[in-house]
């Protein structure tokens, strides 16, 4: 979007080229009508999503910002329930919740692990997904068979998978330890040791996330024109050169999106942590979002505290997105 003109007509080249000129209705007169005439179609296409999202996510978000500046809990937000009238007694406290959260050593420790967890998971997701997609994109016997098997983890509901893995990892009646024992090896405390538990949850999340990446990349590979490869082969390009200079750039539109979304997704991956380890042992596998949940949902709910954590997560991810976008722009992507 670097080249966006004031009237919004031209934006870079390629697919980013503005189509509005083509869709302009005839007979547009004054500047306002022309402006509307040029953009009505894009607005109409996005309007349903924008309106619904603004209501359903925008309202809670704005309310969250407000609550994070107060000391609101479930006990002091006013309401009337039948014969019980609870007066509103919460107060504005400014940025106190934010300073308290950032000064909390638990926040920083959790943030560190959350970042590590996200980086490792997304790298493995994309790396393994790309590798498998490239293998599956070749002419190959049993291709659909492999594809169906490989995508199975995605077809199983995530909460079910989390339960199966917890069962497989179980120290006493789990199949992994049973296999180790059968092979004469000592049992492993898959979910009971702080360090091993971290690896275990990563394994589960990678298992869950690779099929999606694989399919997304596979879709992207299909969109790379074949004659580029043919031309490259004729020019004597090695497989690595073809991968490096045709496959990777060709995948970029899809990859930049799924990696960005995958990062956000993994950063907020609640189900795996919550259902497999519950954040334990101790608090060793707790990520920011499970901790925010704990604040929001244990006992008397801390509306202000959980909103603060939620907004901090949002700020961190937004900052990350801005940096990511800058990096993309440098390589020619634009939005």
């Amino acid at each position: 979007m670097a080249a966006q003109a004031v009237d919004g007509t031209v934006a870079g080249g390629g697919p980013a080229r503005d189509q509005a000129a083509l869709h302009r209705r005839p007979g547009g007169q004054g500047p306002v009508r022309r402006f509307i005439g040029r953009h009505w179609y894009a607005w109409a296409l996005t309007a349903p999503v924008v309106i619904v999202t603004l209501v359903l996510v925008g309202y809670p978000l704005v309310r969250g910002v407000y609550l994070s500046l107060t000391d609101a809990t479930e006990a002091n937000v006013g309401r009337t329930i039948g014969m019980n009238v609870i007066p509103s007694t919460y107060e504005f406290v400014g940025l106190k919740n934010y300073t308290a959260a950032l000064a909390d050593p638990e926040f920083l420790a959790t943030l560190g692990w959350t970042v590590l967890w996200t980086a490792v998971c997304v790298t493995l997701h994309y790396g393994l997904g790309l590798g498998l997609a490239i293998l599956l994109n070749r002419p190959l016997r049993f291709r659909s068979f492999y594809r169906v098997l490989l995508v199975l983890p995605w077809a199983v509901p995530a909460f079910v998978s989390a339960f199966i893995w917890r069962y497989i990892f179980s120290a006493k009646y789990g199949v992994l330890n049973a296999m180790l024992n059968a092979a004469g090896l000592p049992a492993v405390a898959w979910l009971d040791d702080p360090a091993v538990a971290k690896i275990s949850v990563i394994v589960v999340n990678v298992w869950l996330g690779v099929p999606f990446m694989m399919l997304a990349v596979l879709g992207g590979l299909q969109a790379i024109p074949g004659e580029l490869y043919e031309a490259a082969s004729m020019d004597g390009a090695t497989p690595w050169q073809r991968f490096r200079y045709i496959t990777l750039p060709g995948l970029r539109p899809v990859a930049s999106t799924v990696v960005l979304l995958g990062t956000i997704w993994t950063f907020n991956q609640f189900a795996v942590i919550f259902l497999v380890t519950g954040g334990g042992p101790g608090t060793s596998t707790q990520i920011l979002v499970t901790n925010a949940y704990r604040l929001a949902f244990t006992g008397i709910r801390d509306y202000a505290g959980s909103a603060t954590w939620g907004l901090l997560i949002l700020l961190i991810l937004s900052a990350m997105t801005v940096i990511y976008r800058r990096a993309l722009r440098r390589t020619g992507e634009a939005w």
Partner: protein
């Protein structure tokens, strides 16, 4: 992160402590069931049952059918809500004023919290509190908050020591251990003479309480508003547990799914003793070593520490949602479900321990082997601090316990100090 407790709530906690001492203070039920009004009450009562849908739900449904036969103008909508979801689901629905049930089966620890938040209807003087003197004082105290009754007890329970009689006999012990020291010795004997584990622990806050109580400790001291979780007594209790593990009297326990791991080991004869409650009896009796020999399963009160033998009081209650549009029908429903006859039926079918003194003498209950076994164990049950924040006390404690067991921390005092610090964040105005 900071919970504000108003002066009112703090005063309420004190008042609760006082009223818990004598449940007679509560107003007597004014409307007996035989008054003319009940027959004319109409409406639909939605009940969220949090019991085990597969094994316990059907017995409750039978009671509901009887209730509907007795009050043809009242319809009951039975919804089984999984226990793990129910507290959150109720809170969300109740605060929104939409979607909440009329009656909920609330765990004893939820009542003070729900009541303090204004979600529950006070029941004093309504048909729901029927013949209040009949309730056992311990379980009944959990239904009171700020001097009012917000829930009536449905079932009570506590922890006991479950043991495999054959394994103990093989190790030369014909009697279950009565103190922590005997517990350790018995476990070591079982291990050395039979080869199987002597005692399997469950890494859970609730299951830690008998050790803390035994040494004279507690999580909180309600009267003086003191946080006592890091006191010398509480630390000594936790130390006992760690000593059981380090001396190999108990194997290093599984942390994840700890409860099931302990149960499984016990049912399969791989461990001789566990701590558990009356709810586990049918599960145990279905196990390999007890299926054909139910007499092999022994139940004893939890062993005593240097101060006393005591287990925590648990159980469930019936509470009525303040925003219910069918209050009168709900009161009648609670009255019926919690009558001595209903309690006795549930005791007979499911082995649930009644909370009414009179229910124990009814044939259905007195014929139940589970009730007979556990009645004496219940004498060691002590009341927990029924304060609104009580549900939040367990998480920091279990995290500390897990850190000790996983080896991340080794200094018990340091861990308990950390727990106490988290409690201070939860309980404003309480001292260490």
């Amino acid at each position: 992160m900071r919970r504000v407790i108003s002066a009112v709530a703090a005063a309420a906690a004190l008042a609760l402590a006082v009223s818990a001492c004598g449940s007679d203070d509560s107003p007597k039920s004014a409307a007996p069931a035989t008054s003319a009004a009940p027959a004319d009450v109409t409406g639909t009562v939605t009940w969220w049952d949090t019991s085990d849908a597969t094994n316990e739900g059907p017995a409750f449904k039978e009671l509901i059918a009887d209730f509907e036969a007795k009050y043809p103008k009242i319809k009951v909508s039975y919804v089984n809500v999984p226990f793990g979801e129910a507290q959150n689901k109720f809170q969300t629905a109740a605060q929104a004023g939409s979607g909440a049930p009329d009656v909920i089966r609330a765990e004893v620890g939820w009542v003070a919290q729900f009541a303090s938040l204004g979600y529950l209807a006070p029941l004093d003087g309504t048909p729901a509190v029927d013949n209040a003197d009949d309730f056992l004082p311990g379980p009944a105290s959990a239904g009171k908050y700020d001097g009012k009754t917000y829930a009536v007890p449905q079932v009570t329970d506590t922890l006991g020591l479950l043991y495999n009689k054959e394994l103990l006999a093989k190790a030369g012990h014909n009697e279950p251990p009565k103190t922590f020291d005997e517990l350790k010795q018995t476990a070591l004997d079982v291990k050395s003479k039979t080869g199987v584990d002597g005692l399997t622990l469950n890494v859970d806050s609730y299951f830690l309480l008998p050790f803390i109580y035994g040494e004279g400790g507690d999580l909180l001291d309600i009267d003086s508003k003191k946080i006592t979780v890091s006191s010398a007594q509480a630390v000594a209790g936790v130390q006992k547990v760690m000593d059981l593990i380090s001396s190999s009297a108990a194997p290093k326990p599984t942390i994840k799914d700890s409860y099931v791991a302990a149960e499984t080991a016990f049912k399969e004869g791989k461990t001789a003793m566990i701590f558990n409650g009356p709810w586990s009896m049918s599960d145990n009796l279905g196990g390999k070593v007890f299926k054909d020999k139910p007499d092999n399963l022994g139940v004893a009160p939890v062993p005593a520490g240097s101060v006393k033998a005591a287990g925590p009081t648990g159980g469930h209650t019936y509470a009525v949602y303040a925003g219910s549009g069918n209050l009168d029908a709900s009161y009648l429903f609670v009255q019926y479900m919690d009558s001595a006859e209903s309690q006795a039926k549930l005791a007979g079918k499911l082995g649930l321990l009644p909370t009414r003194a009179s229910a124990y003498s009814l044939p259905d209950a007195s014929g139940s082997p589970v009730v007979a076994t556990w009645k004496s164990v219940m004498e060691t049950a002590v009341s927990r601090p029924w304060i609104p924040e009580q549900g939040q006390l367990f998480q920091p404690l279990v995290e500390g316990y897990q850190d000790l067991v996983s080896g991340k921390e080794s200094d018990v005092q340091k861990v308990m100090d950390g727990v106490a610090q988290k409690y201070q964040g939860l309980l404003k105005g309480w001292s260490l």
